[in-house]
């Protein structure tokens, strides 16, 4: 839910509406009439201010520009030059929009509306903190904005009367193509009413005459006009477009239908588009500064939070590492006290002992004889040779046996070579078979060598 404050600043007093917006529906929660002197104090606590500023003198001109000029900046520059020519030495704020073209026209006409900055700023200075101003415009644009919200027709008149000030705008495709503000200074009510009707009817006729291509369908009355049925009847009789009353209560709640007509300008200020606003560059600068300041504030706060978080994160990491460090120091000290470090002499002696072991006790005949135990238990070797020199180890054993029958020889042979195959050694083992099957003599020489180079077996065992 958003909260706004719509203010209609007139010459001596101001109307202040507190508005809340929820789901495209505006709710007027409070309205008050304030003397102009008290407005600064009154608006001190308000935010999101939408201003309608009544100006006695405004710029309302039609300016023609050659149709070949299409660049917006050039058009704006031409209009500004022409305005300066007619309003010497006065600083002005203006906006413009193109009027409907008539055929064969070589020039394009622009409706130019503006305010004199000096007087306009006098009214704006009533707001202590201009940064809070969201929108500021003049009465006819507030009326236009509210009328556009209420009326969907393409072309229409919107006429407003407040005190003696009559505002008439002709609208085509949501843009004002004609406007007129008149002050009626008459004390006699009957005369005033007749004059009012005359003014309205004449203006309608004039606009219809000026814009013949446009078919105005409605005359929408608001302000005091909406409360006076006789005026509406008179206009209805004389003018072609049908007469109706502006009814903003469909989307603005919190006010009775008749009550809303007292605050048409204030309510209208809520809907004024940016193009129809008049905000001096000084205030725009202040707003930009305020926006920049807010962004800087948010960024610096974010940076501070990120910095603090980052520092905290590093601190947690540091703290964990420090705890780990203390634990490691404790463990290390404990290990230092528990583990002896031997003197270098002792270590050297141990190392020499290992080296001597490797050199002198690397191989012993018993080692190979132990691994050959399964064969030795089967048959004692007739001859045996073992030698170790220059890291070259060689062992050979000759097994001989005579058998009575071929069957015994066969079974012995199988058993012998099965056991030989089962011998587990890291060295290369081989055998040389010289069995005489005629004489049934078993004769085999087994060789075991340290495998410097892989040697081929002297004779492969027969495949049985």
């Amino acid at each position: 839910m958003s909260k706004f404050c719509a203010i209609d600043i007139q010459n001596s007093n101001a109307t202040v509406l507190d508005v809340e917006k929820k789901d495209n529906v505006y709710l007027v929660t409070h309205h008050e009439n304030v003397e102009i002197d008290k407005l600064p104090q009154f608006t001190k606590s308000k935010k999101n201010l939408f201003l309608n500023i009544e100006q006695d003198e405004i710029i309302d001109e039609k300016i023609s520009v050659d149709s070949i000029v299409t660049n917006d900046n050039v058009i704006k520059s031409i209009i500004a030059t022409k305005l300066r020519e007619s309003n010497l030495k006065k600083e002005i704020l203006f906006n413009y929009h193109q009027l409907p073209k008539t055929q064969n026209e070589k020039k394009v006409f622009y409706q130019v509306d503006g305010v004199y900055v000096e007087k306009y700023l006098d009214s704006l200075s009533l707001i202590e903190n201009p940064v809070k101003i969201k929108s500021a415009t003049i009465s006819k644009f507030s009326l236009l904005a509210l009328s556009n919200e209420c009326i969907n027709d393409e072309s229409y008149f919107s006429i407003h009367l407040q005190s003696n000030k009559l505002t008439i705008i002709a609208v085509h495709k949501k843009s004002p193509i004609y406007s007129r503000i008149t002050t009626l200074d008459m004390s006699d009510a009957t005369m005033k009413e007749a004059k009012l009707v005359e003014q309205i009817v004449q203006t309608i006729a004039y606009v219809e005459q000026s814009f013949r291509d446009i078919n105005f369908s409605i005359v929408a009355l608001s302000g005091s006009l909406a409360l006076d049925d006789s005026i509406a009847e008179h206009i209805n009789i004389v003018s072609r477009p049908r007469v109706s009353v502006l009814y903003p209560n469909t989307f603005i709640k919190g006010l009775k239908a008749k009550e809303a007509h007292r605050f048409i300008f204030a309510l209208g200020s809520l809907f004024v588009s940016k193009k129809l606003q008049f905000i001096p560059t000084s205030i725009l600068g202040l707003k930009q500064y305020s926006m920049g300041s807010k962004i800087a504030f948010a960024l610096s706060t974010l940076l501070a939070i990120v910095g603090i978080y980052f520092a905290y994160d590093r601190f947690v990491l540091y703290s964990d590492l420090f705890k780990e460090h203390e634990a490691l120091v404790g463990k290390l000290n404990y290990l230092f006290t528990q583990i002896d470090t031997y003197p270098i002499e002792k270590l050297n002696r141990s190392l020499r002992h290992i080296q001597m072991n490797k050199k002198y006790l690397a191989h012993h005949p018993i080692d190979i004889l132990s691994s050959l135990k399964p064969l030795l238990s089967l048959q004692k070797p007739q001859e045996l040779q073992w030698s170790y020199k220059d890291d070259d180890l060689k062992f050979s054993a000759t097994f001989k046996r005579q058998f009575e029958s071929l069957k015994e020889l066969y079974e012995f042979e199988r058993l012998f070579f099965d056991r030989f195959e089962d011998i587990n050694t890291t060295f290369t083992k081989s055998y040389l078979v010289k069995i005489d099957y005629k004489r049934m003599d078993f004769d085999t020489t087994v060789t075991i060598e340290k495998a410097k180079v892989e040697k081929e077996k002297v004779e492969q065992r027969r495949v049985r």
Partner: protein, 172 residues
């Protein structure tokens, strides 16, 4: 004005926080490096403990006294040979010589195959002041013969002094 002060303060906090974080980061890196070093040191200490245990159980009990007196070493070798000369028919193959670790003497031996007790004693024979290294072993129908080396280790100091002496031109 108030906003400006808050922005300045926030930026100051950010700068200080970042500086503090950077300092903590540096300290963390230092501590982390030290921790890793300590872990390595502990691993080294554990390895040292394993080596100590290995030395005490596998090395120290079997370590032989390394002699520093050259004459004493010669004597020991000769006396050992004399003790076993007749028993195993020891004959000098190569008289006392030195290598990196010890003084050595090489013998040939010969034992009749029938003397089984002798054979077993011979194969399990030990030299208490050093080592016996078999070089050759032959077994035929009659006898066991071959070559062996008796090793008498000397201490490092002895080796060094002898090398220095050799450089001086004095005999080893």
């Amino acid at each position: 004005m108030r906003n400006s002060m808050i922005i300045t303060l926030a930026l100051l906090i950010f700068v200080l926080s970042m500086a503090f974080a950077t300092w903590l980061e540096e300290q963390s890196q230092k501590i982390d490096a030290r921790n890793r070093q300590y872990v390595k040191d502990m691993e080294k200490l554990r390895t040292i403990a394993q080596i100590n245990s290995f030395i005490e159980s596998e090395i120290a009990p079997f370590m032989v006294d390394e002699q520093s007196n050259s004459t004493e070493m010669d004597k020991k070798l000769i006396y050992f040979a004399s003790e076993n000369q007749n028993k195993y028919n020891l004959l000098v193959e190569k008289y006392i010589y030195e290598d990196d670790f010890a003084k050595n003497i090489d013998f040939s031996y010969k034992i009749e195959r029938d003397k089984k007790d002798f054979l077993n004693d011979f194969l399990s024979m030990k030299y208490k002041d050093g080592f016996i290294q078999f070089r050759e072993l032959k077994l035929d129908a009659k006898e066991l013969s071959g070559r062996l080396q008796v090793v008498q280790p000397f201490s490092i100091e002895n080796k060094s002094s002898q090398e220095i002496g050799a450089e001086d031109g004095s005999p080893k």
